[in-house]
Every structure is written in structure tokens, then in C-alpha cells.
């Protein structure tokens, strides 16, 4: 298991060091600094083995988190734990920075003591941790409160405490999708997928039982066959094929596996209910058509057309097209019909920004790039043209069908809960080769 955990600043100074196992000596701290943080070359692997000691590291801004071990630990678990550790710290004191870590080091030690015992990760849900690890110290707890805390930390529903009360029961569902595309210069889709997340903010009283439904093909088909409900057919809603999905630990996985229904008792506040991935029938909101022509050795002509491909009534926002330029670029002239375009020498790219664009429209940019003559034999690698945008629909076609809330003990019903649903589609890695 994890033998020790260190946090360093960008210079390699130790900010936090907690050793859990006897086989990890003080020299491990230095070994990581010397061999990884101060290493000459770029880090080639997130796992490093130095003198039979393995170091796992992740970096958040300029802070290094390293877990150390001498055993054959579950590597995936160590990384998941490091991420979790970052989440917990962020939930407690915001951004992970040298300043915040130094100011909260006592708290961090306290957390580390709680969420990692002898190198074994323990309950690390912030909701539960916040009930008994506070900066104020626990005072005046009654016996009931104490046992409530412990039963929550160890219990089946470790992510939610009992006795939560809201005057207004409200929940927000955000379907956040990032659409990824790799397209050949000829417009052929090399790979495309949507990775989506359903993020829920719940402000519900008691221990509500929730059921979430979406237009999952398997579910709709099953219902259609059974004839129990032909709602899908009637409303003309299309179902989508989900390649795979993963759920927050509150979701009952065995139930999903057998009935494909998503039921859970939600944590309080904001959390990620599920992640999913689709590859079929993706609506690609934009198409990029590049045209690069080399005119002699010192000039390049670039023309890029973008076409929006969704309902004209919808508006895409924050559109940004990034056209890479060679390293030996000396000057660029840009003409664009819409938005603003600028050559950014430091980024070796022309950045073209459009604030808003409606569906089924088209826009174009053309640029002349002057090059300095070089002796460099190596050809310019032509990185792909990448794009960023935000659209108010889900490119995968996912629709929330329902989210039912049942709380048998308290006197509010599904109708009393105010529910908000929002769809946002963003660009992930949306690239077109040129």
C-alpha cells in the first residue's frame, strides 16, 4: 500500500510529508526531488522507480503530489486517490497552491490521517469528512451526533448525512458534453466521440430516493417491445446508443446492471452523477474546411471555412479557431468575414474568435503567411487546426426523460421539487488536420 505522501512546490521544497510505512525513509523525499522534479528531461512517465521505490505523481498547477511505495500496490488506486486528495483539498480551501497548502498544513495533516490509514484509503467523501474534520475542532458534540458521524463515515450511504432540511426542495441537472473530433483534411471523420457528464446539484431534504431516466436506447427499446409505454414513439424522441457509462458511487450498480435503471440517494450539493461516452450518430456542431497552399519557400496561403451544423434557432458561443503557423513565420495578413482574427507569434498560431454564430451558417478566414527562409531540412509538422465552442444542446442527442424524487419520511412529493435541466455542449479536442 501507499508508504508515504509528499507535496512539493515547484522548486522541489517539501510542503507536506506524511510517512505511513516504515520502509519509506526520509531519503525518499529527496530521491523524488532529484530524479523527477529536478530531472533534466521532460517527465516520461507518471510512475517512476528509483532504487526499488516507486513514486506516483500528479501535478496541479505548480504543485507536485507524490505517493511513494515499496510494494506492488494497485497503481490505479493510487492515482485515483491522489485525484481524490486534490478534490478534498479543493473542497476545503479552494485552489491548490503553495500559499493555500502552507496556510492549511495542519488541516491537510488531519485529513491525511483520516483518509489514509496505514496507506489504505478510507472514506474520502467531502460531505462526510466535513462533519467531523473542521478547522474549529469538534466541541460540544452530543453522543448522538458522534455516533451519527461514525455511522455515516462507515455506513452504506457515506456520502450523505441524515437530517438535511431545505425550505425549498430544488435540484439542478446539467448535461455537460464535450464533443471530440479528429477529421482528415478531406473531411473524413477519423474519430469522433462525445464524453458527457451529468452533474447534479441537489438541495433536497431528508434521504430522498431518486430515479433518473434518459433516452437510452436499451431502455427505450425494451419499453417499446413490452408495449408498456409507447411514449418514445409518440413524441418522436430519438434514443441514443450509449457505449459505456460510469456512475458516482451513490448509484446502485447492480440495479443498473440488471434493470438498467439509475436509482440512488444523492449526496447533498454538487456532484457528478454519471459519465458516459457515445460514438454513434453524433451531431458535429461545426465542420472545418482547411486549405493550405505553399507558395514557394517563403509563403503560405491558408483558407479556412467553418460551417455550423445545427438548428438555425440556436446560437453557438465562444467560438475560437486556432490555425497553427510554422515556426519561421515572419508576418501574417488575415482577412475574415466575421469575428476577430489575430496572429499570435508566441503561440505560433492565428487565433480567430467569433462571439456568436447561429446554426446552418458559414464563415471564412483567409491568411497569407510570410516565412523566413531556413536551412532546416525538417518539414513543418502541420499541427491540426483546433476549435473551441459552446452550444446549447447535447451533441450526443441525450435527453433527460425524468428525474423522480421520493422521500417517504418527509412530507414532500416529487411534484414539490423544483427541477432545472440544462444542456451544454462544448468542444473537447476538436481537430481537423490540414
Amino acid at each position: 500500500m501507499i508508504g508515504g505522501l509528499f507535496i512539493y512546490n515547484h522548486k522541489g521544497e517539501v510542503l507536506i510529508s506524511r510517512v505511513y510505512r516504515d520502509d519509506i525513509g526520509r531519503n525518499a523525499v529527496d530521491a523524488f526531488r532529484v530524479n523527477v522534479i529536478h530531472a533534466r528531461q521532460q517527465v516520461r512517465s507518471p510512475v517512476t522507480n528509483i532504487a526499488r521505490t516507486s513514486f506516483f505523481h500528479v501535478k496541479r498547477s505548480n504543485i507536485w503530489l507524490a505517493a511513494v511505495t515499496k510494494q506492488n500496490v494497485n497503481a490505479a488506486m493510487v492515482f485515483e486517490f491522489l485525484y481524490k486528495m486534490c478534490d478534498v483539498m479543493t473542497a476545503y480551501f479552494g485552489k491548490i497552491s503553495e500559499e493555500n497548502i502552507k496556510n492549511n498544513f495542519v488541516l491537510i495533516y488531519e485529513l491525511l490521517d483520516e483518509i489514509l490509514d496505514f496507506g489504505y484509503p478510507q472514506n474520502s467523501e467531502t460531505g462526510a469528512l466535513k462533519t467531523f474534520i473542521t478547522q474549529q475542532g469538534i466541541k460540544g458534540q452530543t453522543k448522538e451526533e458522534q455516533s451519527q458521524i461514525t455511522s455515516q463515515v462507515t455506513g452504506q450511504i457515506g456520502w450523505r448525512r441524515e437530517g438535511i432540511k431545505y425550505r425549498r426542495n430544488e435540484l439542478f441537472l446539467d448535461v455537460l458534453e464535450s464533443v471530440n473530433l479528429l477529421m482528415s483534411p478531406q473531411g473524413q471523420v477519423l474519430s469522433a466521440h462525445v464524453s458527457g457528464r451529468v452533474v447534479m446539484k441537489s438541495y433536497l431534504s431528508g434521504m430522498p430516493e431518486c430515479k433518473f431516466g434518459m433516452n437510452d436506447k436499451i431502455v427505450i427499446d425494451k419499453q417499446g417491445k413490452g408495449g408498456a409505454s409507447d411514449e418514445a414513439g409518440k413524441s418522436g424522441k430519438q434514443s441514443i446508443a450509449i457505449d459505456d457509462c460510469t456512475f458516482h458511487q451513490c448509484v446502485r450498480l447492480s440495479k443498473f446492471d440488471s434493470e438498467r435503471s439509475i436509482s440512488f440517494i444523492p449526496p447533498d450539493g454538487e456532484y457528478e452523477l454519471m459519465r458516459y461516452r457515445t460514438t454513434k450518430d453524433i451531431i458535429l456542431p461545426f465542420r472545418v474546411i482547411p486549405l493550405v497552399r505553399e507558395v514557394g519557400r517563403t509563403k503560405l496561403e491558408v483558407k479556412v471555412v467553418i460551417k455550423s451544423n445545427f438548428k438555425p434557432s440556436l446560437l453557438a458561443q465562444k467560438i475560437e479557431v486556432r490555425i497553427p503557423t510554422p515556426l519561421n513565420t515572419s508576418g501574417v495578413q488575415v482577412i475574415c468575414m466575421k469575428g476577430k482574427a489575430k496572429y499570435k507569434a508566441s503561440e505560433n498560431a492565428i487565433v480567430w474568435k467569433i462571439k456568436r454564430m447561429a446554426g446552418m451558417k458559414e464563415s471564412q478566414i483567409s491568411a497569407e503567411i510570410e516565412l523566413l527562409p531556413t536551412n532546416d531540412k525538417k518539414k513543418w509538422a502541420r499541427p491540426p487546426i483546433s476549435m473551441n465552442f459552446e452550444v446549447p444542446f447535447a451533441p450526443s442527442g441525450l435527453k433527460v426523460r425524468y428525474l423522480k424524487v421520493f422521500e417517504s419520511k418527509l412530507n414532500y412529493s416529487d411534484h414539490d421539487v423544483i427541477k432545472w435541466v440544462r444542456y451544454i455542449g462544448r468542444s473537447g479536442i476538436y481537430e481537423t488536420r490540414c
Binding site: M1, F56, Y120, G158, H193
Partner: protein, 957 residues
């Protein structure tokens, strides 16, 4: 000076100041002071001088302060053990505190203080906490047992904590269960042979229930533990798989990977024609793909694991090529791993796409990545023959880019393509030659020189090209020098007239002006060859080269199997067994996939003492070893068409019964197998039998010829187990013998190396009958070069048991001062027949009658020149006892019994027709029906096996 008050502590003078603050009356001040101490501790300053003052602060009701003091204690208690005792009272008191959080904190901290005196005091509180009413305390106490075990294992055992820990597996709280499992797993790791984690269907059921309820981390502990279990049969395996599959949808990648590990392992046991098997395969792909959208570090771990999974079961991801396409922004370590997997998945169906991608990558920035991409194109050409042409043209395009390292890498792979497809793509040589000057890396230069030498007859100016290299001969690396020498000799043999001068020159450079022995030796050999027999030289130098294999850098199968058992862990990331990077006893245990009967995957072990009759027997009745078990079982359970042999368990006594079936019977039959002859009656030949594993009765009978030999157990002649080539000069040949009731391994160790060998030691892998060395290997004197030494190693049969395939396979590791070497050999089954294998007549009869006659198979023994009495006495020498003899119509029937070292009885009937020197004997192997079905469902417990399991062998004419 500094914004962070706690981190500004610099000079030692402040220690004094701190001391004062720590002893202050004000709580706040005290707390601030302790914080400062902890801060200094963090940055590595020695604040141990403050020990008594800090410990004084322990007695407080302020939990935050208490935790800080504990933190300090954990760090410094070891350096000040006497002072640490001062803290014991507080700990003990805290363990009684009404607040469960404080009780847990105390027991947690106490376990972290590695001072013997403290651990003594820990036992009582720990015992109480293990039975605490609050689950939070219990889950903390469970981990504490593991801590204590790490400090003082004996103490934990003596105090009976292990039993309490085992009880916690049945706890009502899932987190307590998870922590208890984690603690037990860790403790079990340091006691490889203990039955600590006594996994049986009941406990497995408990774990699977807890799996649904506990935290994500707990799920990982439980799944990792489950992966160590070996289900008893395919049904149990399937039901566990069914309950584990929902985990594949967990948001935590580690849960997913651990679930994949369990499924990959248990899947081995499922029959391939089962519907569920296919369903499971389909279910595995999506979660693996989803792992690739995780954070890059996890992607890396996932990719390293996928690399293993793809090698073991390529079918899972064969349609998912696209997800492994490299993204421009992927970190380099992700890119390199994806590239590896792309090559593994490359097939005729997707090669066009793959090539287009690879070509794209070859223009990227990162040099390592580009090189690997170019190399990948070459590997595709070798792997997918149809694509070779396209690959070559892609490589040529890349050579045209003139980017130095791309060109060099391309030339290296083109050399391999030439070797794989000789006389196909030589047209590109001209293009390659154009780039001769730009090559500056030894590997590329050597490859180019090889090409020129190999195709010297097609390159007009080959001599000029090679001559140009010769100028700087001494500055070249050895690799290039050797290649150049060979290339010029090849050239000379092809065009002797024009190149005489050149070859003279290179030979003299290599032999006279070089101080590299390899180069000099090679030079002399060529010289001698050329001067004595040019024809022979031609045959040697221009010999046809063996083809190169399709897949390079595949992981060796046994290692792969072991790594599959370690999915998700560091071992799977490093692609090394845990013993390679873990110190001490932990992780040294080698894990193996459960063997599936009839899989035939490891069927190619050589027959060491193969009998003469083998080649003469009709080939149809010689199945591969792996199929044998399936056939034997088919014979008894179902018609031969069904292919659903029950899987064999892989460890423990459980398989004793299976052994008998798998190897026992075939050996038994082999035992009675004697060369040449007559066809078997077709109706009586439902099953087919393999050749004897290593000498059986035929060998025993062979012995019969030589009169005057002592009547003893048969021992096959020595055969070479470990050729000197494979073991740096150490050759081991040997045999097995049973002498005076002791199994002996008799070996001849021959040193064919130049240096003296010492420090010999030997070790066996777990094997079917628990064979293990009874003592150390007795090689007292060093073995000099060309010297050999005879050793006899007595063996015991009390070692750990694991089913081997073939059954009598024995994997051996021999160590000497040079290295460790591995080989496997097979012992004759007759070694295992014990002296007290003579069954009571009455018992024999009763048992014999119990065997139903409806499942029969036959075997022939041919060409036996012994009469029944001679055969009987001969067999007795090998502990095959004749219980009774009957003569019916000129046929002698011998009823025989033997007993194996693991207590299994074997009964046989042998029919011999006297008077005919060239008679036919065929056997009928009959298994007990209920025995068979027992085996098939693998519901056997070890004590059952220790009872009778008679198998009747009937031999008739």
C-alpha cells in the same frame, strides 16, 4: 520576511523559544507552538529535542491539538523509545473514551508507533477495539492489526488477533469488512503458505455482498482479494463474474480495473462455447475504452494494462482501434503506449487506417515518438503481409523527407522487412543507398551495411559503398565493424574477382589492428574458411536465414499470465513480476491463471523419454497433451462431440482427483503401452490416448531383457534437461529414480563454460504431486571448465501442490554463481507409486465391483515379449502389485493395484495372451461414474480425495 509564520522557523535558537511556548499555560499559544514544531518537522528539521515538551501537551481535550501531538509522536517515537512510554497512559485512556472518534484515533495512532514497549500495551486496547460497538472504531482496529503484524508478527499470532480479524469478514458493516479484507490480504502476503484468507464459497458470498455496499476504496480491496480466489468450477466462476460485472460501470477507474482483473482471471475457467463467455467478452471492451477518457496518469496505467489484455485476449478490443489513435495533446507517455497497442491490434481489416495514422505521427515533434512510429510502420509490414507493400512505400516517402532520424529509423526497419520478405522489395535499395552519407547512428549504419552485403550482387557499386565505410573502420562501433566484416565477405563470395583486395583489407583490419576479441575471432574464422574451403565458406556465410517472427517484444506467456493476475497494480505498469521490484518476502509468490481444461494452450512440452511406439501409432490417436483431459472426460460424461470439459482447479489438494484423470490415466495407459502392432477394435476405442509421458511399462518391460539387473524401480535413461546454450555453459542432464522408497533426482551437471561454477542451489516450482527437494543440492566442490559432476537429490512429496500441464511436469530453477536458470522436466509416473500399494484382496474385489462398466475406453499394448508372470514381477519392481491372477481360455488376467504418493489408489486389470510372442493387448480404462461427475463439478474436498478413487483398467485381447 516570510508570509507563512509556521514555515519561517530557521535557526536552532528558536527551539528554546518553542520550548517555552509549549510549556505555556495558554491553550492557544501551546497549539501554535505545536503547529510550528510540525512545520519544522515537515521540512526535515530535527525537532526531536522537544519530545518531552510536546508529549506533555497530549493530555488535552482539544482534538485538534491532540492530533498534532500524535503526528509528532509517530515521527519521533522511534528515536526516543523511552520517552514514548510516557504517552502510553494517555493512549490507553483514550481507547476507553466515550467518543468513538477519539477511541479510533488512539488505536490508529498507537499502531503507528513502532516501539516494542508500546506495542505490548497496545494488545489489550486493540482487542477491545476490535469488538467495539462502533463500526468506525472496528474498521480502524482492523487496519491496526496489520500495522501490529508489520512490527511484531509473532505477537499478533500469539494474541489470536488473526482469528478476530477473520471474524470481522462477517461484520455487518461493509467498511469493516473491507478493511479486514485489506489487512488479512496484506498479512497473508507475508505468509505465502498459510491458509489465512480461507476463501470458500461462504466467505466469497459475504465479500460479494459487502462489495455492493462499501466505499469505492473498499470495493478495490475486496476485488483485489477476490482475484486471489480460485473458483471450484465454471458455474461458481460464472456466478462470481455475474456479480462483479456491475462494477465495470463504477466511476473509479481502480474499481473498474480490479473488476477487469477478476473477470480476466475467472474467464479462464469458463468454457469457450458458453453464451455467457461471449457476453462477458463483449462487456469488457466499453469500460476499457472509457478508461482512456480519464486523467492522463490513469490513462497511462490503463494503457499498460490494456497492452497485457490485448496480448492475452486480442478479441476483446479488436474493433476498438480508433480509440487508440494518438491525440496531439496527449502526454508523451500516453502517446508511446497507444502506439504499442495500435501495432498489437493492427490487422488486415484496419491496416489502412493504422498506416495513415502512423504516417501522420512520423511528422510530429517528439523524436522518440517519431522513431517509434517509423518502427511501427515496419512492424505492421511484418505483421500484416498484405500491407507490406504499402508500408514500404510509406517508409520510402518518409525517407524522402530527409529528416535524419526518420531516415535512419526507416532503414533499420526496412532491413527487417527484407528479411521477412526476401526478394520482394529490393527495388528500393537504390533509394536507400542515396542516404548512405546521412547515417550517423550505429544501428542504422549496420542495417545499411547488412543490406548492401546481402544484396551485393544487385548493387553495382557495392564494393565502392563498402569501401567508403572501411576508411573509418576503427572509429565505428563494434556493431558496425562486425556487420562490415560480414558484408565484405559476402560481397567477396558473390563477386570474387573484383573484391579480393577489399576482403584482404578488412580481414587484416579485423584481425591485426583490432583489440576487440569478437571481431578478431570472426575475422579469423572467415579467413580460415576462405583460405581452406571457399565452397564451405559460401555455405556458411550465404546460408539461408531463418525467417523472423511476426510479433516482436511479446511478453513471455508465463510472465503474461502472472501479470494478468496483477492487473491494475504496479507489476502491470512495469510489466515485471512483483519480485523484480519488491524487496523481501512480499509479492514473491507467483500467481497463475487458473488452468482451463482442454485449452491446449500450453501443450507443447517435449516428451523426454518418448517411446519407440509413438511414431508408429496412428497419428489420429495422439492428441496434444492439453486435449487429453477433455477427451478422457468426454469419454465418460458425454459423447466426444461436446467440448465442455470442466476446468481444473489450479491449486491445493482439490485437484488431486483431477490429476489422476488428467495425467494419472494417461500415464497409466502409457504405462501399459508397448510398441507396434495391431489396430484397436474400433468400437472399443472411443477415446484416444497420448503417448506415454515419459516411459511407462514399455520401459519397464525393456528392462526385462537384461538379466541380472537388480529388481528395482524402472528409471529412464538420463536426458538433457538444460542445454548449455541456454544456461551460460551449464548443462544439466538427469533422470528420476525411486530407490528404497525415496524418489531421487539424479543429475549430471556439466560445466561447458570457461569459468569455474560454484554455489549451486536448486528449487522447484509447485507441482502436481508436491515434489520438493528434501535437502540442499550437494555440490561441495566447484565445477571447473569441462568438468562434470554427478548429484543425487532426494525428493519429498510434501511440497506445495499445483496442477501442472502435463501432469508430471516439474519446473526447476537452478542457481549457480553465474545466474539462475530455469528448465522443466517430466518424471515418470511410476516414481510416485509407493511401496505399500498392495491392496487387500477383499477390498480390491469390493472396490472393483463398485465400478460401473458402462464407461469404457481401451488401450493397446503391443509387442510384448514377456509372459504374464515376468510382467507381473517386473511391474512389482516399480510398485505395481499384482493382487490376483486368473486364467480364462488361455488368457492371463492380472489384477493390479498401485498407490500414488498423495494417497490415490489406482486399480488395473491386465490381460495377457500367453504363447503369442507378438500379441496385442488393449486396455479399457473405466472411471467411476460418480467420481467423474464429482470431478466434473469439482465439488470435491480434499478429504474426499484422500479416500479411494479406483479406476479400473481392463486389458483384453
Amino acid at each position: 520576511m516570510c508570509d507563512f509564520p509556521f514555515f519561517s522557523l530557521v535557526c536552532t535558537g528558536e527551539i528554546f523559544e518553542l520550548k517555552a511556548e509549549l510549556n505555556s499555560d495558554k491553550k492557544e499559544k501551546k497549539k501554535e507552538a505545536v503547529k510550528k514544531v510540525i512545520a519544522s518537522m515537515t521540512v526535515g528539521k530535527d525537532v526531536s529535542a522537544l519530545f518531552p515538551d510536546v508529549v506533555n501537551c497530549m493530555q488535552t481535550d482539544n482534538l485538534e491539538l491532540k492530533k498534532l501531538v500524535y503526528l509528532y509522536l509517530m515521527n519521533y517515537a522511534k528515536s526516543q523509545p523511552d520517552m514514548a512510554i510516557m504517552a502510553v497512559n494517555t493512549f490507553v485512556k483514550d481507547c476507553e473514551d466515550p467518543n468513538p472518534l477519539i477511541r479510533a484515533l488512539a488505536v490508529r495512532t498507537m499502531g503507528c508507533i513502532r516501539v516494542d514497549k508500546i506495542t505490548e500495551y497496545l494488545c489489550e486496547p486493540l482487542r477491545k477495539c476490535l469488538k467495539d460497538e462502533d463500526p468506525y472504531v472496528r474498521k480502524t482496529a482492523a487496519v491496526c492489526v496489520a500495522k501490529l503484524h508489520d512490527i511484531n508478527a509473532q505477537l499478533v499470532e500469539d494474541q489470536g488477533f488473526l482469528d478476530t480479524l477473520k471474524d470481522l469478514i462477517s461484520d455487518s458493516n461493509p467498511m469493516v469488512v473491507a478493511n479486514a479484507v485489506a489487512a488479512l490480504s496484506e498479512i497473508a502476503e507475508s505468509h505465502p503458505n498459510s491458509n489465512l484468507l480461507d476463501l470458500n464459497p461462504q466467505t466469497i458470498n459475504k465479500l460479494l455482498t459487502a462489495l455492493n455496499e462499501c466505499t469505492e476504496w473498499g470495493q478495490i480491496f475486496i476485488l483485489d482479494c477476490l482475484a486471489n480466489y480460485t473458483p471450484r468450477d465454471d458455474r461458481e466462476s460464472q456466478s462470481i463474474c455475474e456479480r462483479v460485472t456491475p462494477r465495470l460501470s463504477h466511476a473509479n477507474s481502480a474499481v473498474v480495473l480490479s473488476a477487469v482483473k477478476v473477470l480476466m482471471k475467472f474467464m479462464e475457467m469458463l468454457p469457450k462455447d458458453l453464451d455467457y463467455y461471449g457476453t462477458l467478452l463483449k462487456k469488457l471492451a466499453p469500460p476499457l475504452v472509457t478508461l482512456l477518457s480519464a486523467e492522463p496518469e490513469l490513462q497511462y496505467v490503463a494503457l499498460r494494462n490494456i497492452n497485457l489484455i490485448v496480448q492475452r485476449r486480442p478479441e476483446i478490443l479488436k474493433h476498438e482501434m480508433k480509440v487508440f489513435f494518438v491525440k496531439y495533446n496527449d502526454p508523451i507517455y500516453v502517446k508511446l503506449e497507444k502506439l504499442d497497442i495500435m501495432i498489437r491490434l493492427a490487422s488486415q481489416a484496419n491496416i489502412a487506417q493504422v498506416l495513415a495514422e502512423l504516417k501522420e505521427y512520423a511528422t510530429e515533434v517528439d523524436v522518440d515518438f517519431v522513431r517509434k512510429a517509423v518502427r511501427a510502420i515496419g512492424r505492421c509490414a511484418i505483421k500484416v503481409e498484405q500491407s507490406a507493400e504499402r508500408c514500404v512505400s510509406t517508409l520510402l516517402d518518409l525517407i524522402q523527407t530527409k529528416v535524419n532520424y526518420v531516415v535512419q529509423e526507416a532503414i533499420v526497419v526496412i532491413k527487417d522487412i527484407f528479411r521477412k520478405y526476401p526478394n520482394k522489395y529490393e527495388s528500393v535499395i537504390a533509394t536507400l543507398c542515396e542516404n548512405l552519407d546521412s547515417l550517423d547512428e550505429p544501428e542504422a549504419r549496420a542495417a545499411m551495411i547488412w543490406i548492401v552485403g546481402e544484396y551485393a550482387e544487385r548493387i553495382d557499386n557495392a564494393d565502392e559503398l563498402l569501401e567508403s565505410f572501411l576508411e573509418g573502420f576503427h572509429d565505428e562501433s563494434t556493431q558496425v565493424q562486425l556487420q562490415l566484416l560480414t558484408a565484405i565477405v559476402k560481397l567477396f563470395l558473390k563477386k570474387p574477382t573484383e573484391t579480393q583486395e577489399l576482403v584482404q583489407q578488412v580481414l587484416s583490419l579485423a584481425t591485426q589492428d583490432s583489440d576487440n576479441p569478437d571481431l578478431r575471432d570472426r575475422g579469423y574464422i572467415y579467413w580460415r574458411l576462405l583460405s581452406t574451403d571457399p565452397v564451405a565458406a559460401k555455405e556458411v556465410v550465404l546460408a539461408e536465414k531463418p525467417l523472423i517472427s511476426e510479433e516482436t517484444d511479446l511478453i513471455e506467456p508465463t510472465l503474461l499470465e502472472e501479470l494478468i493476475c496483477h492487473i491494475g497494480t504496479l507489476a502491470s505498469v512495469y510489466h515485471k513480476p512483483p519480485s523484480a521490484f519488491v524487496e523481501g518476502s512480499r509479492g514473491v509468490q507467483h500467481k497463475r491463471l487458473p488452468g482451463s481444461a482442454g485449452s491446449g494452450e500450453s501443450a507443447d512440452s517435449p516428451d523426454t523419454g518418448s517411446a519407440a511406439g509413438v511414431s508408429e501409432a496412428p497419428p489420429a490417436v495422439i492428441p496434444s497433451q492439453g486435449d487429453l483431459l477433455g477427451d478422457l472426460l468426454n469419454l465418460d460424461l458425454t459423447p466426444p462431440t461436446t467440448s465442455g470439459p470442466p476446468p481444473a482447479p489450479s491449486s491445493g489438494m482439490q485437484m488431486g482427483a483431477m490429476d489422476l484423470l488428467g495425467g494419472g490415466l494417461d500415464s497409466l495407459v502409457g504405462l501399459l503401452h508397448m510398441g507396434a502392432g495391431f489396430g484397436a477394435p474400433p468400437t472399443a476405442m472411443p477415446a484416444s490416448f497420448p503417448p506415454p509421458v515419459s516411459g511407462g511399462l514399455d520401459d519397464l518391460f525393456d528392462l526385462g531383457g537384461s538379466v541380472g539387473m537388480p529388481m528395482g524401480a524402472y528409471s529412464p535413461p538420463k536426458s538433457i534437461w538444460l542445454p548449455a546454450m541456454k544456461a551460460k555453459g551449464l548443462e544439466i542432464s538427469g533422470t528420476f529414480a525411486r530407490r528404497a522408497g525415496v524418489i531421487q533426482m539424479e543429475m549430471t551437471l556439466t560445466n561447458k563454460a570457461m569459468s569455474i561454477m560454484t554455489d549451486f542451489a536448486i528449487q522447484f516450482n509447485r507441482n502436481s504431486f508436491g515434489l520438493a527437494p528434501a535437502g540442499p543440492l550437494q555440490v561441495l566442490t566447484p565445477v571447473g571448465p569441462n568438468q562434470s559432476i554427478e548429484v543425487a537429490l532426494p525428493l519429498s512429496t510434501v511440497g506445495p501442490v499445483m496442477k501442472m500441464e502435463p501432469l508430471t511436469n516439474l519446473q526447476v530453477a537452478v542457481k549457480n554463481n553465474i545466474d539462475v536458470f530455469y528448465f522443466s522436466s517430466q518424471y515418470p509416473i511410476s516414481m510416485l507409486f509407493v511401496e505399500d500399494g498392495k491392496m487387500e484382496r477383499q477390498v480390491f474385489l469390493a472396490t472393483w465391483k463398485d465400478i460401473p462398466n458402462d464407461n469404457e475406453a481401451q488401450f493397446q499394448i503391443k509387442d510384448c515379449h514377456l509372459n504374464s508372470d515376468a510382467a507381473s514381477s517386473k511391474l512389482q519392481g516399480s510398485n505395481v502389485f499384482t493382487i490376483a491372477k486368473r486364467t480364462v481360455e488361455g488368457q492371463d488376467m492380472l489384477y493390479q493395484s498401485m498407490k500414488l504418493t498423495n494417497g490415490i489408489w489406482v486399480l488395473a486389470e491386465l490381460r495377457v495372451q500367453a504363447g503369442n510372442p507378438n500379441y496385442t493387448v488393449s486396455t479399457v480404462v473405466v472411471g467411476l461414474c460418480e467420481f467423474m461427475s464429482l470431478v466434473s463439478s469439482l465439488r470435491l474436498s480434499s478429504d474426499l480425495i484422500n479416500n479411494f478413487y479406483p479406476v479400473k483398467t481392463v486389458v483384453f485381447n
